[in-house]
Amino acid sequence: MNRYIKLVNFEVNRFFKLYIGLLIIVAISQFVSLFLVKSKYMQAANDANYASSMKATERFISSSGLLTFNQVANHLLFIGPIVICIALMMFYVFIIWYRDYFGKNTFIYRLFMLPTSRMTIYFSKATTILIMVLSLLAFQLILLPIEINVFQQIVPSELLGKMSTIDLFMNSNIFTMILPSNFMDFIFRYLIGMGLVFTLFTFILLERSYRWKGIIFGILYVIAIAGLLLIPAFIESYLFGEDFSFYPSEVFYMELGLFTIIITVSILFSKYLLKNKVSV
């Protein structure tokens, strides 16, 4: 346990500076989008001379609508960094293994010669990914109320459509995706994420075990996992006919069960590969 915590700490420290840089870029980009959306809206409002009279204001609002934070949240510079962060984290799933193999110094020798089981190394890498994802989510949750507050300060009150952080999470697709309002959905969403991480870890370890052949085995493994996930849809469509459909709760529990199986199988398979096949 002690070495596991030390390894997690070590892995977190390895990406920390880069990660902080990424968070700063997210914050800057989102604040820029906030001012850009406000400026564009105010430009249109000023062009319509909205402040000249109450009627002009009402006319402008009826044609353009109130300015809400949802418009900021849909701006490319606001969503873009979140999408980039998700993409980078997917990329980091590969980097976290391959950087130890390649480069001037092969750190994988040291990792595999630590007096701790290889599964400790495996779980420390998975934990690091989870910490990265949840930290980004936490950062966004801290940032949003600040952004909303700043937004409400800079937009004239008569043109402002007030929106809270919760309203935003209910109305924006991307925020509903990263933070579902229901706790069970939240757990399930991040279970899917970890299922994906463990599946990709297995893919990487297959490649490290069998090299070129391993890539083919890895692709077959990913296809098998995808096939497994389609089982409920298959049962629904082909086994019971078109008139039949599962209740959403039934689909939920089936998918939950399938992801538990996927995670368990991926971990056990990875354990076998790490013990018997992976070499430096």
Binding site: K104, Y109, L114, P115, R118, V278, V280
Partner: protein, 229 residues
């Protein structure tokens, strides 16, 4: 004692090790000799359990290799095993954090012996100093067995001499050492036992003292006989 029993290993279709068997005792320096690509490094990695073998058995003090034994056996490959962004001091701290058997006093002594500085970045070290740093991380551990893969490869004469001095110092003491090299001249006088490898097979295994006393031959003489026959 390290026992390598009937070990075979294939990379794809290539047989890298073919049913090799030998032993290496504590308190002795055993040298695996052979040209590049004969399976010396694979043998070392197989002993350490970082390259799985296809068949055979490897025992360390009569026990199969597992992760707890990395407190008792260490491998010094011909490449740095630490992050290039680490300073020498940070790498020493890393070793201290993860190994119970890390000996800080011995590590400090090695640091002075090799004239390395704690604030030097590993990625900026010369090849000779990188090899010395590698030795420092390996020999700083209180282990019974030390495996060294080509410690003299591609480094200058003075660094070679300095590294060779380690073998006669108390830093090796009564540890069991397995060393691979194709540059035998630097350490010929230090070796107790030689295992000659070629094409994944053991051609000859002998004690240098016996060969010297009984046949009046040097290691180089035996190598000439075996490899040129």
């Amino acid at each position: 004692m390290i026992q390598v029993k009937n070990v075979s290993k294939k990379y794809g279709r290539k047989n890298v090790l073919r049913d090799i068997s030998f032993t290496a005792n504590k308190g002795e320096i055993t040298c695996l000799i052979g040209i590049n690509g004969v399976g010396k490094s694979t043998t070392m990695k197989a002993i350490m359990g970082i390259t799985p073998i296809d068949c055979g058995e490897i025992l360390i003090d009569d026990k199969k290799m597992n992760h707890t034994m990395y407190e008792n056996i260490t491998f010094i490959p011909d490449t740095l095993t630490m992050l290039p962004s680490f300073t020498v001091g940070e790498a020493m701290q890393f070793m201290k954090d993860f190994y119970v058997n890390w000996n800080p006093e011995r590590a400090k002594e090695l640091l002075g012996f090799f004239r390395l500085k704690e604030d030097e970045k590993l990625g900026e070290l010369s090849k000779g100093n990188a090899a010395k740093a590698n030795l420092l991380f390996g020999l700083g551990l209180d282990v019974d067995y030390v495996l060294m893969d080509e410690p003299f490869s591609g480094i200058d004469m003075f660094s070679r001499e300095q590294i060779a001095k380690v073998f006669t110092s108390h830093l090796i003491e009564d540890r069991g050492v397995i060393i691979t090299t194709h540059e035998i001249s630097d350490i010929e006088h230090l070796i107790d036992k030689v295992v000659l490898l070629d094409n994944g097979e053991i051609l000859k295994e002998f004690y240098t003292e016996e060969i010297r006393l009984e046949e009046g031959k040097s290691v180089m003489d035996v190598m000439r006989e075996v490899y040129q026959s």
